[in-house]
Symmetry: C2
Subunit: 467 residues, 2 copies
């Protein structure tokens, strides 16, 4: 926390304030650092940021202008701890790493816990990876190469190799003595693992339990053997589920032979949970990943493809309208009212869809209760469809003084809201079944359906009953 | 894990499968339990579920039909551990608790850690709360009443009162001896806190560090004094930020006098992170909270209000169209094309909006970089606007063989995509500034803007240049 009262209030009244007593960095600090960087005041910059936690320094870098970022790192020199990189948004991280010497990177990676080192290393491009590997000591190189042999987003990538495993014959006292003597223990850990002679984990003891047990007690007397073991190939999403479901702080990782090779800790899992939640949210809107720090060109390109798909679906809806061109020409009120039916369908369907996507991600929805969900959603769609049929029908009747238009919009509303509920539920369930991430394509498929059905039902009924 | 091969394959090929080797409950188990419940086979039910983890038993309850749930609990009798309730979705929890005896509830609450007890108690209705309080032992009642005096969603509600605090004069050895003798320590904990004579925390020692230090070393020699302290009134969202930002597993909670009164642990924070992510996702779609387990009527009612607001905004768009009724009557192609402009604006704006809402929630967006974000989004909107102007323009030209319509739709597209970017960025920033949750109202405000501007720009330009 580097918090000082503002010299003068130049904050923008329109933008969110940062509470001065909150943790994290303040807008004031960002401004001060930017000013000092611009003025080339190296010592002032140093004084402002030197006490910041790495995560806060990463935030500061993210909030600075593109050109100020390398300058800040340059000003900090050897005081810049590369662990800051693990807290950075990945697009920024790449940008900053590219500016660094492979030798310097290699030195820092050697000092880190293995999971942090992998985290940074896997973001490098191939050339940089080769150069860094060559500069690394042999032992570190082998560890890194092995970690990278596991699939991306698997437990093998996020685990930490440093852990405390002890033989099943030990007592609490022996363990404590070993811990006092050992040099290569991880910085922080929460459980100790009991392994058999094949190095397969047979149980664990939370440190708090070990510490309150008398020295002569054998570890096997106090260990928990109902252990949630993570296979090294397990997807990180599955790992997150495990931690969330069973309230774990750490879990042992085993290789295909069942041998204990690493440990996943809850701080990594919190990041995964954040990432997965973010992905679902962004994908539903057609954004691939946080592009807050990407350049304009990259952002434009990555969003273009989604908008292009949407152009096709919008054209599909237009084709439906074109079929009824003649009807619209004769009753132009239909052109005025038709977006209402489509829009209500889209919104009602999105409600169902979002509940389904989230429930699938949280595993609250599965084969066991899927049909019950679909049935319920259709009933909700029907109920709201009937209510909005009355509302929209009355409105249309009064507006255009034509009761028949009211009846037609009402009927179209019921049809579209039921179809919306049905597709809002079935589209994500179907995509999940096909092995496609339901968050990615659901919303575009859904709105295509609700637009097409909305326009078709409304204009079709009008053609039959009005002309 | 209760996993057995299916007797015959009656799984629905259309629905997602549950991998047999994954953790959690299987669809197969749900079916078996439901069948045994229906057949009244109490002992079979017992055998199927007795080894389940509480979190899995909660999932099983969620997946069963409404009527089967109380029956399962009844069948389990005294083997039903009330901690299962803490893992249940809140709407289900209320339903099940209502069916229980206050006396039975009170007994279970007494046995729980204080945070779990509060979690369950705060969901009871007032009558039930009073009855349970009367049935509780005096000490437990006081603790519960005090916890409830803190604001909902504050650190005071989620903290656990059981913790390990030791005086600053102690050595590692004294601490270990104390731990071995003490009876009222929490089940699991990760840090021990050093307090001064006023019981204010002055530092902490991770258990792993304490365990590897020799007995005569004073705790103050190994303690970390850069502690992230949580004021008891701190909002849980802020607490989650703290844990995420600094990778914490536990944090001390202090009262306004700075005295150590509790501890928040990471397992509670994981739930909060999930909840907050879920809220943002659902609110953007106009769903108040997970309604997966709510009755049809409750769901219909809670979604109705959002759809009603959407009806008003759809009518607003219709009014804009009505202004140009005469233009549409003369060039009916406009009615065919107009949804394209509105829909592209809505989608592009939603991309910006979603990035903004997420970045605000994660505190990546604040006064320090807000204007940079707005500027970038407008540029992205302009760039994509120009590209889709060409695409949609060419399409319209070819379709209706009228170059002027192509020019008009292109111009409207640029205008609407820039406006969409601007509102997609400013609406959530503005709402945040006003103290309104940006996730709640953003998307409805945004699509109103993009619909109105989309129709107005397209039809307005057509009126000026075509007629």
């Amino acid at each position: 926390m580097a918090e000082t009262p503002p010299e003068h209030d130049d904050s923008d009244p329109w933008l969110p304030e940062v509470q001065p007593d909150s943790y994290g960095i303040s807008a004031e600090l960002v401004r001060k650092v930017a000013k000092a960087l611009a003025a080339g005041k190296e010592r002032k910059v140093h004084r402002l940021v030197i006490d910041l936690h790495e995560a806060d320094l990463a935030d500061l870098l993210e909030h600075l202008d593109r050109d100020d970022r390398p300058r800040l790192i340059e000003f900090l020199g050897n005081d810049f701890d590369l662990e800051v990189l693990t807290h950075l948004d990945s697009s920024l991280r790449e940008e900053l790493i590219e500016a660094m010497e492979p030798r310097q990177l290699a030195d820092s990676l050697s000092d880190m816990d293995s999971d942090d080192a992998v985290d940074i290393f896997e973001d490098l491009d191939e050339d940089a990876q080769r150069e860094v590997l060559e500069a690394l000591p042999r032992a570190d190189r082998l560890v890194l190469e092995e970690s990278l042999s596991f699939p991306e987003d698997s437990a093998g990538r996020i685990m930490q190799r440093e852990l405390l495993a002890v033989p099943s014959s030990w007592t609490v006292g022996q363990t404590i003595d070993y811990m006092r003597a050992a040099k290569d223990l991880p910085d922080d850990f929460y459980d100790l693992y009991i392994v058999d002679p094949k190095h397969q984990p047979i149980g664990f003891v939370p440190l708090s339990r070990a510490m309150r047990t008398k020295r002569p007690v054998p570890l096997t007397d106090i260990m928990t053997d109902d252990m949630k073991v993570v296979p090294i190939e397990m997807d990180q999403e599955e790992v997150a589920y495990l931690f969330r479901q069973y309230g774990l702080v750490s879990a042992p990782v085993v290789d295909p032979g069942g041998r204990l090779v690493g440990v996943v800790t809850v701080d990594d899992v919190v990041h995964i949970i954040d990432e997965e939640a973010e992905e679902d949210l962004l994908k539903l809107a057609g954004v691939k990943e946080t592009d807050l720090y990407s350049a304009v060109l990259d952002t434009t390109r990555s969003r273009f493809s989604w908008l292009l798909i949407n152009l096709f679906t919008a054209v599909a809806a237009s084709i439906v309208i074109a079929v009824f061109e003649e009807t619209i020409e004769r009753v132009v009120a239909l052109a005025v009212l038709m977006p209402i039916v489509a829009s209500m369908g889209g919104n009602a369907g999105t409600q169902t869809l979002t509940v389904a996507v989230r429930a699938l991600a949280m595993r609250d929805l599965s084969a066991g209760n899927a049909w019950r969900f679909v049935g319920k959603e259709v009933l909700v769609g029907l109920a709201n469809g009937l209510m909005f049929a009355v509302l929209a029908g009355a409105l249309a009747w009064l507006w255009f003084d034509a009761p028949m238009i009211g009846v037609i919009i009402g009927a179209a509303m019921v049809i579209n809201l039921v179809v919306a509920a049905l597709s809002g539920a079935l589209v994500p369930l179907g995509l999940e079944k096909l092995g496609v991430d339901p968050a990615v394509a659901s919303s575009v498929l859904l709105t295509t359906v609700t637009d097409v059905i909305g326009f078709f039902a409304f204009l079709g009924l009008a053609t039959v009953f009005l002309l």
